[in-house]
């Protein structure tokens, strides 16, 4: 169990971590997800004892570890660039943590070798024990690094961008394998990543970080389907942002009105509605309740088609539709179509999450998710969100 209590850390004048609190349960695998500079690696290094927090406490298994050095914490750490000892064989690397123990707690040489061999088998490179790190591929090196970290039987395992230096195919393979390994070992684990797909696929719980603070904590489904802040919405995948107005418990987007009973106390305010590309339904032009749009570009990606469309007053949006709909409507470049936002999340100009608005579905829609209200955090002003979004789309 890991307890992070009001931890802050500053590098010079740059605040890396700002009052972060988080509890990680026994046996849980948690992803720290965020862009570079969000403080996720610093937080991991503070848990490991490689950095010291300026303020706050780190509690490991109920014991205050704030002032413990890295070597007393008994924590396994896997580095992005492996940190393997290049002058030692793979086997010697793995048994290093046992070899350096003081004589009285050190297992016999035979036992240490046996344990190292077992670990190499566990990470599926049992035949590479006599090689040197420079003779291994990136994926194999990361497996060695993991086996080495596990050799000291750590109470928690920390991984800093463990797959960051690997190519896409190996990365996918290894992350699935890490998930399975975690299910076998049931060790409490924290890993850092900037890849949302990786976090969603591997972790039990995702902690989204931005500018040294936690934006949202939740299961992968929660974080993806019900982002708590505009930042999380953007970071968790491609998204369209539609400027809209709130009036009389209704949201108006490009001339279409949606009922929004949650906005009881809001009158005449601006808001932004976020819509994922797959939640924009494409229909025949002129369909009731649809916005008129023109197809600028189409890109067929196997079973789905990605469309760049221009909607009057809303600008250029991205929609993702099935091949079937695409063929039925005979869409090509320049086609006039109608679009209906099926599921959107609005944020008021103050940054507070509003209702998750869902239109009546016509065909095979996923079950609705309950609206998520923010947890006491105010986001950025609307103007800034708009500026960043428009900047990104160009």
């Amino acid at each position: 169990m890991i307890g992070i209590e009001h931890v802050s850390k500053t590098f010079g004048r740059f605040p890396a971590i700002n009052d972060v609190s988080l509890d990680i349960a026994e046996g849980e695998l948690v992803a720290l997800l965020g862009p570079s500079g969000s403080g996720k690696t610093t937080l991991l290094r503070i848990i490991a004892g490689l950095e010291h927090a300026d303020q706050g406490r780190i509690v490991l298994d109920g014991v205050d570890a704030t002032n413990m050095g890295a070597r007393e914490r008994h924590v396994g750490f896997v580095f992005q660039h492996y940190g393997l000892f290049r002058h030692m064989t793979v086997l010697a690397n793995v048994s290093f943590g046992l070899d350096i123990r003081p004589r009285r707690s050190r297992p016999s040489r035979a036992d240490r070798t046996k344990r190292a061999r077992e670990l190499l088998d566990l990470v599926q490179i049992g035949n590479l024990g006599d090689r040197y790190p420079s003779q291994l591929s990136g994926g194999q090196r990361q497996r060695v690094a993991l086996a080495r970290a596990l050799a000291i039987e750590p109470r928690i395992l920390l991984l800093d961008e463990p797959f960051g230096a690997l190519d896409a195919k190996v990365r996918k393979e290894l992350r699935r394998w890490l998930r399975e390994l975690h299910d076998t070992l049931k060790i409490t684990g924290v890993f850092v990543t900037h890849d949302q797909e990786e976090a969603l696929e591997v972790a039990d719980r995702v902690v989204v970080m931005n500018q040294g603070a936690i934006e949202q904590v939740g299961t992968p489904t929660e974080v993806y389907d019900a982002p708590g802040t505009p930042f999380v919405f953007e970071f968790m995948g491609h998204v369209n942002s539609l400027p809209c107005t709130v009036h009389n418990r209704e949201i108006t987007v490009g001339g279409i009105r949606f009922a929004a009973p949650e906005y009881q106390e809001v009158e005449d305010d601006f808001a932004v509605a976020f819509v994922r590309p797959h939640a924009l339904e494409v229909v025949a032009p002129g369909t009731d309740g649809s916005l008129a749009a023109t197809v600028l570009h189409e890109l067929v990606l196997g079973p789905t088609v990605r469309l760049d469309i221009r909607v009057e007053k809303l600008g250029v949006l991205e929609a993702e539709i099935s091949r079937i709909v695409h063929d039925e409507l005979r869409i090509k470049r320049g086609s006039r179509i109608g679009i209906i936002p099926r599921h959107m999340q609005t944020f008021l100009s103050g940054g507070n999450a509003g209702p998750s608005v869902r239109m009546e579905e016509r065909r095979d829609a996923p079950p609705p998710t309950p609206p998520q209200m923010p947890k006491g955090r105010t986001g950025r002003p609307l103007s800034e969100i708009m500026r960043r979004l428009s900047g990104r789309r160009d």
């Binding site: 070597r71 393997l84 000892f85 290093f96």
Partner: protein
């Protein structure tokens, strides 16, 4: 990697269409060979030919001279003290500079280079100014009857000063390139300070360390300027080999002068060969530095 092996044109590392004209290649290469021969090879050969000018018997006799033997002993003693001390200082300094960030770090880097920048004679004079009879600490030392200048301790101090940068200079770049993740990994596995130093950091720089020690030793044995200032040239007591060679030469005892010089030249040749072997091994060793890590 090129898959086809081409025949390269004479004196060129590139295909003909990318090479300079033949006359240019011949002139430049010839110039290099002539200069090398005149400046380095001829003097080196002449050292040995002068030493052996009156036969091997005279050569051995010159080396057996009590003053020569005393010079050899003093040189060996000086190197055997200066090199280990600089080894310890060099490792400590390069470790500090390469693995930590702290205020004043760049000043420390410059300080390490100081002995390279200062003329060796000046280095010697600094010690005379400090420890000499008229120096800052002179009266105090005289009171306790401690002799540093014109004695063996001064020679050792001057040698340490002059040879200080060799090992640190060799280690800093490679330690910086390797970063700190190996040390952090070892720490996370429970290793203490000395375990990290002896099991991870030092083996990681092993060949460079050996190379630095070799260079440091060659310079410690061959140093002339700084040692000349502090030695006082007392025969059989404070003359190192380079100083003894000079004395023999000034006395027109050429065979003896060149005999002592030939030993120093031999030391240089051995150092060069060892250096080549180390560099060759550094390129090939799968486990050594330079491998991916």
């Amino acid at each position: 990697m090129a898959t086809r092996i081409e025949r390269l044109p004479l004196l060129s590392a590139r295909p003909a269409e990318l090479s300079e004209p033949l006359w240019a290649r011949v002139v430049v290469t010839a110039l290099a060979i002539v200069v090398l021969t005149l400046v380095i090879l001829v003097p080196l050969v002449s050292v040995f030919s002068e030493a052996l000018a009156k036969g091997i018997g005279a050569y051995l006799e010159a080396l057996g001279d009590p003053d020569s033997l005393a010079a050899m002993r003093l040189t060996a003693l000086t190197a055997s003290i200066a090199v280990p001390i600089n080894l310890a200082f060099g490792i400590a300094a390069s470790w500090t500079i390469a693995k930590f960030r702290f205020p004043g770090r760049s000043v420390l880097v410059s300080l390490i280079d100081l002995p390279f920048a200062v003329s060796p004679v000046i280095s010697g004079l600094i010690y005379v100014l400090m420890f000499g009879a008229q120096g800052w600490l002179g009266p105090l030392l005289a009171e306790y009857d401690i002799k540093i200048i014109f004695a063996v301790p001064g020679i050792i101090l001057a040698t340490i000063f002059v040879t200080f940068p060799f090992i640190a200079r060799e280690l800093i770049p490679i330690m910086e390139a390797q970063g700190t993740s190996d040390e952090e990994a070892a720490m996370m596995l429970g290793a203490g300070f000395w375990q990290v130093l002896f099991r991870v950091t030092m083996p990681n720089v092993g060949l460079s360390l050996l190379y630095g020690v070799l260079l440091c030793n060659a310079r410690a044995m061959g140093e002339f300027g700084a040692v000349s200032v502090v030695s006082g040239h007392i025969r059989g007591l404070t003359n190192t080999m380079p100083l003894q060679a000079e004395i023999f030469y000034n006395e027109y005892n050429f065979v003896a002068a060149f005999s002592v010089a030939s030993l120093l030249a031999l030391l240089a040749l051995v150092t060069l060969v060892a250096k080549s072997v180390i560099e060759w091994r550094r390129k090939r060793a799968p486990s050594g530095e330079g491998g991916a890590g």
